[in-house]
Subunit: 279 residues, 2 copies
């Protein structure tokens, strides 16, 4: 049985004494979320999924209002997956009247995504800390699709001595390679084709590296050129090659990350790949 | 027996399963700290005192280097008071290499003390959150002497859903009324006399209010004038009258706070009083 909980106080009662695996989400669940939930299901006696579209991580003019929401559908999915509790709080629960506290992970919040979404990671860090403190899980599950978010959460957990294990789960892709995202629902059929430019540019990078190319600048240049050849691509926010800790690299090695953000029509998509891994 | 612990990992082992009362301090313990420790001793089966002079809450040119330290003396006192664990971490323990996370309680951090010590409360909030996460106490004890700090911690605990009860303990004063502070050791004999201006100005305010004065501006003006009449007083940073939540008041009521910060020689002292309480 899956219990729907709306209030922090009720959740605390329900979770007392439980060893919890926690999957924080913004809802509109897809196979990417299911991979997190199934992993949590395997590793924990009790599984909590939170569904909360966090307003503080959206900037002005971003897609907070139109972000897809369907709690009933999400609940059905969670039931099917054997989730014990779905925590779907209101804004007033998460940000009670007069709240003033925010968490900032410096450095990591200002690069890549942070350059284009200035207060995004302050919102992410704050809400993740709140949720971790509310749920107090033994393990919490995050997708590699949002790699920078994953690194931010890992850093915060270490810096603040939180007693939780952060588990990273590989990106889930559609049959054609598109990384799953709730934002894919924004795409028209035409845009969907151009959205493949992200995955395919990573494939291109993989090929180049496998042929011996190590020069990050050259790889990025070729990726850019390739991405911009897709009809519905409006602009590239960034294509970057970094080490595991998001420090830019000039020469590429195994274990490095290639990360990118691309606008397809009015939809902003991100993707990333660890050099040396399958794709 | 009092155990001295230096490492987070060791502390976690020692505290496993314990119901802890926690007294965070910067050491150089005086009767003010003892009031916190004794209260914690009464209310908890296990008492932890931390001794850590937190570098991030000191500004440039402030007294971080000369802040008084005497761990041996503090240990003796803690033994006498029946403290179970003294946690005295190194900087590397609290701020491990590459730390990037900080906590900010907006608003409350920018007024009063915050105006004169710009990053002070960011440092306080961050270290208190770290310590609370390391020690994970049932109850934590803070002195009213640092009233703004107390309010900041209360706010942070609420906003971040920390599972700890914050217990406020009344300011302890010397026989002549001077609020106890480790910084009092900086004062020369002459300065010690002028340091009484803080307490005595609060007494003056109390008298005025008891005689029916309600105009905050007039009370503050008279306090200022009085304080500046002391020989070794160099300047006043602020004299303010606020409600319990540190919002400025024009007309004074019971339950309001009068707060002040005064430089006596090269020593900055603070004090406060709740209107209607004994002094």
């Amino acid at each position: 049985m899956t219990l729907l909980v709306r209030k922090v106080k009720e959740l605390r009662e329900v979770l007392k004494g439980k060893e919890v695996g926690f999957v924080p989400t913004m809802g509109y669940l897809h196979e990417g979320h299911l991979a997190l939930i199934r992993r949590a299901r395997e590793e924990n006696p009790f599984v909590v999924v939170s569904i909360y579209v966090n307003p503080t991580q959206f900037g002005k003019g971003e897609d907070f209002e139109r972000y897809p929401r369907d709690l009933e559908r999400d609940l059905k999915i969670c039931k099917k997956e054997g989730v014990d509790v779905v925590f779907a709080p209101t804004d007033e629960e998460v940000y009670p009247f007069g709240y003033l506290t925010e968490v900032h992970v410096k450095g990591i919040s200002e690069v890549l995504e942070g350059k284009f979404r200035p207060n995004h990671f302050k919102g992410v860090a704050t809400v993740v800390l709140k949720l971790l403190n509310i749920v107090r899980p033994r393990r919490a599950y995050f997708g590699e699709k949002d790699y920078q978010q994953l690194k931010l959460v890992e850093k915060m957990v270490r810096d603040l001595f939180l007693d939780v294990e952060i588990v990273a789960v590989k990106t889930v892709r559609d049959k054609d390679g598109l990384a799953l995202s709730s934002r894919n629902t924004y795409l028209s059929e035409e845009e969907r084709k151009s959205a493949l430019s992200l995955y395919k540019s990573l494939l291109l990078a993989k090929e180049l590296i496998e042929k011996g190319e190590r020069d990050a600048k050259k790889i990025k240049e070729k990726m850019r050129e390739f991405i911009l050849s897709f009809e519905k691509v409006k602009k590239i926010d960034y294509v970057e090659i970094t080490d595991k800790e998001l420090n830019p690299k000039d020469f590429v090695e195994e274990g490095d990350r290639i990360l990118l953000a691309v606008w397809v029509g009015n939809t902003r998509l991100i993707d990333n790949w660890e050099v040396g891994e399958p794709l």
